[in-house]
């Protein structure tokens, strides 16, 4: 299984090595949990049955004073374990952002683009952002874009509206967009985008109240029919936990509680992510 949405923001070894790392976690990303040794990350994956995790940085230094993990830190972690798949983030408003993305993918071995307009404070339809999408298209990588509500302080909710992405989705049909957090609370808007556009994927990392299983039961079985996932969107959903905002084991349990068929779960938990990343994590059966 692959977790498509994690943030390496509580790793003790990095707090010892990088002076602003803990301040970034507390003040920019905003999370109160204790720092943990890297070993805990792997153990959290193990108990959840996750083989590989996508690590996401956010290049928000211009807007927030500090980046939420750097591309270099993500690449460093990927160098320590093949269980990590690193994404790159750039600030689209900085000159040379597209070149910086190329370098992160080609020289650091990172596998995708991560952007968060709310935390990075840019307009999703700024022509400079489209230059970055153009580079991502040429590189053949997926773009995971924050949609929905952000936990980070000072972030405007409106910048997470999934429909803001529609012009880019239309303009770059060969770029696969992964809408993080299923766009919550605009889950129908995000679902409609995925129905309409084959280059739109949804990650399951939405959890903002109650318990993960309760949250999933409401949104995926009551607010929308489970048949929407099972029949129409099964090829466009990837499992994401948003660890460490929630433990991975709880999100795996939540997705498995929905009563999806084994074939559909296999797509959500593995093969859709493999397809997006151009990898295979185990031999085909």
């Amino acid at each position: 299984m692959i977790d498509f949405h994690t943030h390496p923001v509580l790793i003790r070894e990095f707090a010892d090595k990088y002076p602003d790392y803990t301040r970034m976690a507390r003040e920019v990303f905003q999370i109160g949990n204790n720092l943990q040794p890297l070993e805990t990350f792997f153990l959290q994956m193990d108990v959840a049955g996750i083989e590989k995790s996508v690590l996401l940085p956010i290049a928000c230094a211009r807007a927030r004073g500090l980046a939420v993990s750097s591309n270099e830190q993500v690449a460093e972690l990927c160098g320590l374990s093949k269980r990590f798949i690193g994404f790159a983030s750039v600030d689209p408003l900085q000159p040379g952002a597209a070149k910086q993305l190329e370098a992160a993918i080609q020289a650091m071995g990172l596998k995708g683009l991560k952007l968060d307009a709310a935390l990075q404070d840019f307009d999703l339809n700024d022509p400079k952002v489209f230059e970055v999408y153009e580079a991502a298209t040429a590189l053949g990588i997926p773009a995971l874009i924050h949609t929905g509500m952000s936990w980070a302080p000072g972030t405007p909710l409106a910048q997470g509206q999934p429909l803001l992405l529609e012009p880019a989705i239309r303009r770059f049909p060969r770029l696969n967009f992964v809408l993080a957090h299923w766009g919550w609370p605009w889950v129908w808007d995000a679902s409609a985008l995925a129905l309409k556009y084959p280059n739109v994927y949804l990650d399951t990392s939405c959890f903002y109240y109650d318990g993960p299983t309760e949250f999933f039961q409401f949104h995926f079985r009551q607010q929308m029919p489970i048949t929407l996932l099972e029949r129409s969107l099964r090829n466009q959903i990837v499992f994401g936990s948003n660890y460490p905002r929630v433990e991975i084991k709880n999100m795996v349990k939540a997705i498995k509680s929905l009563g999806l068929t084994e074939a559909c779960l296999e797509k959500i938990l593995r093969t859709n992510a493999e397809k997006l990343l151009g990898i295979e994590t185990r031999p085909a059966r």
């Binding site: 905003q30 040794p37 070993e39 153990l43 108990v47 936990w151 109240y209 109650d210 318990g211 299983t213």
Partner: protein, 143 residues
């Protein structure tokens, strides 16, 4: 009077786990130099515990199984809410309640430089929300 405090890290490896820490407590008492006094052991967390029982795997399993029966995950807990200051949802009420139910500390007398325990008594660090690196405190007081 000697008062010595140690903070000991323990890495849990499962979601729930009973970890025998008796040897570590014994060693810290012996190293403290206290011949006669008291040792207090306490977890630093609110979703883990510290308890004393007979050191048998069957009992370890029974504790975790029956705590889970008494405090099921799918109960209606008020704690399951948006905690903006924490950047998370507080969805682990049952683990906090297990910590309260099983307790968070234990004390033993020290005599002639050694912990005085019943022959069956084993000290367990109880993980209710792992895997995590945890910390427990061992404070030795005496002469």
């Amino acid at each position: 009077m000697i008062i010595k405090l140690d903070k000991v890290k323990v890495q849990s490896r499962k979601a729930e786990e009973a970890i025998n820490i008796t040897p570590q407590v014994d060693e810290l008492v012996e190293k403290s130099g206290v011949k006669n006094g008291l040792v207090n052991v306490m977890t630093c967390h609110t979703s883990s515990g510290l308890l004393v029982t007979e050191g048998l795997p069957c009992l370890e399993e029974d504790i975790l199984t029956h705590f889970a029966r008494l405090l099921p995950e799918d109960e209606n807990y008020h704690h399951r809410r948006y905690l903006d200051f924490d950047g998370r949802v507080g969805f682990n009420a049952e683990t906090h309640l297990k910590s309260i139910l099983g307790g968070i500390q234990c004390s033993f007398p020290i005599e002639n430089g050694k912990v005085v325990r019943g022959s069956r008594q084993t000290i367990y660090f109880m993980e209710y929300d792992g895997p995590l690196e945890r910390t427990y405190m061992v404070q030795v007081l005496g002469e």
